[in-house]
Every structure is written in structure tokens, then in C-alpha cells.
Amino acid sequence: MKSQYRWGLLFFLSPVLLWLVLLIVLPQIDLLIMSFRAENDFGELVWSVSNYLIFFREPIYWLTFVRTAVYSILVTFLTFVIALPIAFYITKVVNPRFQGFLTLLLLLPFWVSELVRVYGWMILLRETGVINHFLLKLGILNQPIEMLYRDATMVLGLVYTSMLFMVVPLLSVLDSLDNSLIEAAYDLGANMWTILFKIIIPHATPGIVSGSIVVFMLTLGNYLTPNLMGGKNSLWFTEQIYNQFIASFNWNQGSAFGFLLLFLSSIVVWLGLKLSRRSLRKVVQ
């Protein structure tokens, strides 16, 4: 009986295992090996850490790296600041009949691909775009201004892209918050801010942490939005990786950068978990 179960489990697990091993684990190992190989003076591939040393020697690389990390944290924070009132409004303020409808409205933009959504923003924001057109018409501007290819625009696009991944965990965690806790705090003399920081945020911490991890990782690894909305000035680290692989055709350098990015996201998530005193296992649940 027992061995039968084991074979059954293996049978149903095999697609997942195949997927994991063939498409994720093996290529990663290959990339890891590649990142430690470099050409020596004679043009032969040998074991070396020079790919990693280049990263530290060239300021443009590690500055891009730091910039990407800082902006990702900023995007995560902004997403949280915007998502919390939305989630609170949907779960606690609005008539329960409209809750589903409002959640659907939030989901709707995510039915089209990120590419289409980013192009939508570009149509709105570019020099000949919709917003400039109206500002000129209304006489607020004399000259159209280029709103694209600025850091602020890029952050806007990234926040917009990540919104849903923060709102959904917050919705479920705020839904489980008993209204009477808020009322009790109010009754005991608390004002709005105390209720927010003493009751709502502590209760919502698991949702905030899991939402933040997802948003942070997605933002850090995003290529499309920074590239299209931030342009060449965006200096997003994923572009450096892309350049190494595709433009310079230096796969060894590219994979070293890839692993640096992986290391960065792991360390920031680990720090975040430490700071909020959560264990990864609880967040994943």
C-alpha cells in the first residue's frame, strides 16, 4: 500500500518536478557556472571571479544597482501607501454589495498585458499625448512638455503595475479585521491616526509583508516598464543584464549580474522580514 502511494505521489508530482528541474534549476546552475568563467589573456575560458570584480570596479554598474534597489523600495512603499486606503475603503467603508464590483474594477486593467498598459500610459504622457493636448487647449501650458523618460514617470508606471499585488493581500487581511476592534479603540479614546498605527497596521502586517515582498521582487526584476517609461535614462539594473546578454553578447558577465540581482532581492527581503519580525514560512501561508 505504502509504495503505491509513493508511486502515485511521484506520478502526479512529476510534471512539477520536471518543470522545476529542467526550466529553473538546471539553467540556473548553468548560469551560475557561466558567471564564474571568464576569458584569460589567451582567449580561453577559465574559472575566475573577474565578472564580479568588474561590477565593483565600474561605478556605472554598482550605481545602477543601488539606484534600482532604492527605487524598488520607494515603489514598494508608495504602492503600500496608496493600496492601504483603497483596501480599507473596499473592505470597511463601502456597502458590501459593491465590494465585489470594486475589486473587479481593480482587476480589470490586469486582464490586458503589461505592455499594452504601459503603452497606454505613453499615449497619455508623451509630448504629443493626451494630457499635453488638453493642457495646451486649456491654456495652462504654452509649450508641450515631455513627461515621459523621467524618474517620476517611471516610478508612476511601476507603482501602477504593482498595485494589484499589494491590494489583494491587504484586502484579505483587512477583511479579517473585526470592526469592533476599531470601534473599541475609538471608544477608548483613540483618534484616527492611533487606530491606524496601533490597530489596523499591526493587524495587517502579514498582508503588508507578503504584498511588499511580491511588489519589491516584481519591481526589481521589471524590464519593460523602466525601459519604456524611463527610457535610456532609467538606468534599471535589468537593462544592464539585457545589454550584457544581447548587446555585448557577454553571457558570462550577464549571468554574474543576474546572480547579483538575485542576491540583492534575497538580502532586502530577508532584511524586511527581520525588521517586521516575521518568518518567511508564516508569510507564505
Binding site: D178, S180, L181, E183, A184, A185, Y186, D187, L188, G189, A190, N191, T194, K198, I199, P202, H203
Partner: protein, 361 residues
């Protein structure tokens, strides 16, 4: 006597539904006042209006003579104990109790002393660092009470706080709550659908139905002299009979039941002969096989259907011989009536003073 809480003609309407309909009452300092009513009668809405969580549509609420109109709950001198207590799970016992004091910006050492003192008062000394989910039901109850009492509110509001407890603990907490109230002397306004909670603990009880107060009185009077049929049926058990007034003197009337039996009963207010009435009788008003020498009793014979043994609260379930109805008759547990068996015929008698009569609506 000072009036702590005064509610004048308070009405609350939700769209086309009137939850509370022109309710007025006053509670004196140090009293234990209960509002008793079935679920959905509007008692929670009334309490929430006193706490400030809901604004009344019309009417005035005053606490110690100060109007509460437009004052938010965090500025009112009342505190509410919620049905499910609403203790903050993200804080320990000490932080829960200190929450209100911190909001007032009191000194840290003062807070620690006050928290310690109030926990001692509710017999939870040394529980400051315990987590909420480590507490038993009764302990959570006391933390919730301590969290409010530490703020020394003028009026403490309680919204069925015993509802979630099991029976044994509820009985125990009833007595404890009453003792605690006597000890601290704070005015309590307690709402419940459990008549025994209201009767045991309160100095005065208001019976509420469909958003209106039916009667405000002492527990004893509510039980002995209910003023409406609803109160007669809701407070304590009652056997109901319908009938018609046949003859009457100054204070008594003869009432004929549809089966043709004639009962004599006292009248609270004069009723003309021919009036249709409802007659209520408490189970303990009916005496089993009364002494034949007592002439003034209404007597009839019943067939015992079953014996409902429940310790001191034991009853007989019986049918009158000529009527198709069920009666509850109190069965005193002094072993005097141990001989009564199912299907026995037993004579029942009741005095005209114990009948409660209302004209039919």
C-alpha cells in the same frame, strides 16, 4: 440622587425601518440598569447611540447633565464592552488595559500603577504580560471590564458580554459582575436577551420590544406586576389563557374560558363585561392538590403529560381535562409530590391574586 444618564425621546431610523422608537429613561448614579429584549428589538442600536458610535435620528442623550449631541465616542465619558469583547489581539493584557490611559497621555508610572490596581481589582494580578489568546473566557471578560473601568467612565455600557460563555461560567460571571459593580460603584447599563441575567443583576430593568420600552421597573415588579402581555410572557415563564370577562366587582372579575371554565382573578384596571382578555399564570402560582379547606382558589383537574425534572426548577407538563392546551406547573422538590406519575389526574388550584389579566388587542 444624581442622574448619570438621561435619554429623552431617542429615535433611530434606518431608511424605512425604525430601530429605536422614542425611548426615554434615566439612570441614577451607581445603579445597575438593564435593557432586556429579544434579538432585533433595537437594544444594541440604543447602546451604540449612548456610546456615540451611532447618532440618533431625533432625541437627546445627556450624561451628567451634559448633552452628547455631536460628541464623538473618543470624547464621551462612557465606555462600551462589546459583545465579543474586542480585546486587541496584537497587544498583551497590560497594553490592552493601558490603551485608554495612553490615549489620555498620562504619565508612564501612573499608567503602570493604575493598570496594576485595576487588574488586582478584577482578580487578575500579574497578568500584565499574558497574551490575549492565553486567557480563558472568564479572564478575557474581566480584562475587557478592567480596560474600561480603568478609565473611570461615568457610565459603563455592556453589550451582552456574557453571551459567548458557557452556562456554568455565565452563572458565575453574573454573580461576579454584580459584586464588581457594587464594589466599584460605577453606573452600569447592561443589555441582554437573557431575562435571568437582567433579573439577577439589575436594580432596574427596561423591557424593550420592537424599538420601544414596554416597562421600566424593578426585577420584582416586572415579574409580579407585568404591565403588558409582552412583559408577562418574556419575563419568566407564563401559561396563557384566553377568555371573556363575565362579571366583575371592584377589583376582581370572573373570566370564562372557551372551554367553559370560570376563573376568578384580580384586575389591575377595570374591564367591562364582554371584554376579550388574555390571562397569564406563573407556573409557581399553580398549587398541586391544594388543601380542600381553602375556599378562595380556582380549581380544576389536569392530566399529567410528563414530568420535567430540573432540580429546583422542576415542572409538570399537564393538560386540563376539558381543554386542548399545555400548562407548566411548578413541582416543588420537597419529595412531597414524588407519587405523581405520568397520566395521573391531579387537582390544581390557584389564587385570584396571582392571575395577570390583559385585554386582548
Amino acid at each position: 440622587m444624581q442622574i448619570d444618564l438621561s435619554v429623552q425621546k431617542v429615535t433611530k431610523r434606518f431608511q424605512d425601518f425604525t430601530a429605536v422608537d422614542s425611548v426615554s429613561f434615566e439612570v441614577q448614579t451607581g445603579r445597575f440598569f438593564s435593557i432586556l429584549g429579544p434579538s432585533g428589538c433595537g437594544k444594541t442600536t440604543l447602546l451604540r447611540m449612548i456610546a456615540g458610535l451611532t447618532e440618533p435620528t431625533t432625541g437627546a442623550i445627556e450624561i451628567r447633565g451634559k448633552s452628547m449631541a455631536g460628541i464623538p465616542p473618543n470624547k464621551r465619558p462612557v465606555n462600551l464592552i462589546f459583545q465579543h469583547l474586542a480585546l486587541f489581539p496584537m497587544m498583551n493584557v497590560g497594553e490592552n488595559v493601558a490603551f485608554g490611559l495612553q490615549r489620555r497621555g498620562e504619565n508612564k508610572t501612573v499608567i503602570r500603577e493604575k493598570v496594576h490596581a485595576i487588574l488586582e481589582r478584577v482578580d487578575l494580578s500579574g497578568f500584565e504580560d499574558k497574551k490575549i489568546d492565553q486567557l480563558s473566557g472568564g479572564q478575557k471578560q474581566r480584562v475587557a471590564i478592567a480596560r474600561c473601568l480603568v478609565l473611570e467612565p461615568t457610565v459603563l455600557l455592556l453589550d451582552e458580554p456574557l453571551g459567548a460563555l458557557d452556562l456554568k461560567l455565565r452563572e458565575q460571571m453574573k454573580v461576579e459582575l454584580k459584586k464588581l459593580q457594587a464594589k466599584v460603584g460605577t453606573t452600569f447599563v447592561y443589555i441582554t436577551h437573557d431575562q435571568s441575567e437582567a433579573l439577577v443583576m439589575s436594580d432596574a430593568v427596561a423591557v424593550m420590544n420592537h424599538g420601544e420600552f414596554e416597562q421600566i421597573d424593578t426585577p420584582q415588579n416586572l415579574y409580579a406586576q407585568p404591565r403588558t402581555p409582552f412583559v408577562a410572557q418574556f419575563v419568566g415563564d407564563s401559561n396563557a389563557w384566553s377568555g371573556t370577562v363575565r362579571q366583575r366587582t371592584e377589583s376582581t372579575a370572573e373570566i370564562e374560558t372557551p372551554e367553559g371554565a370560570i376563573f376568578r382573578t384580580k384586575l389591575e384596571k377595570t374591564l367591562e363585561p364582554g371584554t376579550e382578555v388574555d390571562l397569564f399564570l406563573r407556573p409557581e402560582a399553580m398549587l398541586i392538590q391544594p388543601d380542600p379547606s381553602i375556599a378562595s382558589l380556582n380549581r380544576f383537574t389536569v392530566v399529567v403529560k410528563s414530568i420535567l425534572f430540573d432540580g429546583a426548577n422542576s415542572r409538570l407538563l399537564a393538560n386540563p381535562l376539558d381543554a386542548d392546551k399545555e400548562l407548566l406547573v411548578a413541582l416543588p422538590q420537597n419529595r412531597q409530590y414524588d407519587y405523581i406519575q405520568v397520566n395521573d389526574k391531579v387537582e390544581i388550584g390557584w389564587d385570584k391574586q396571582s392571575g395577570i389579566c390583559f385585554p386582548k388587542k
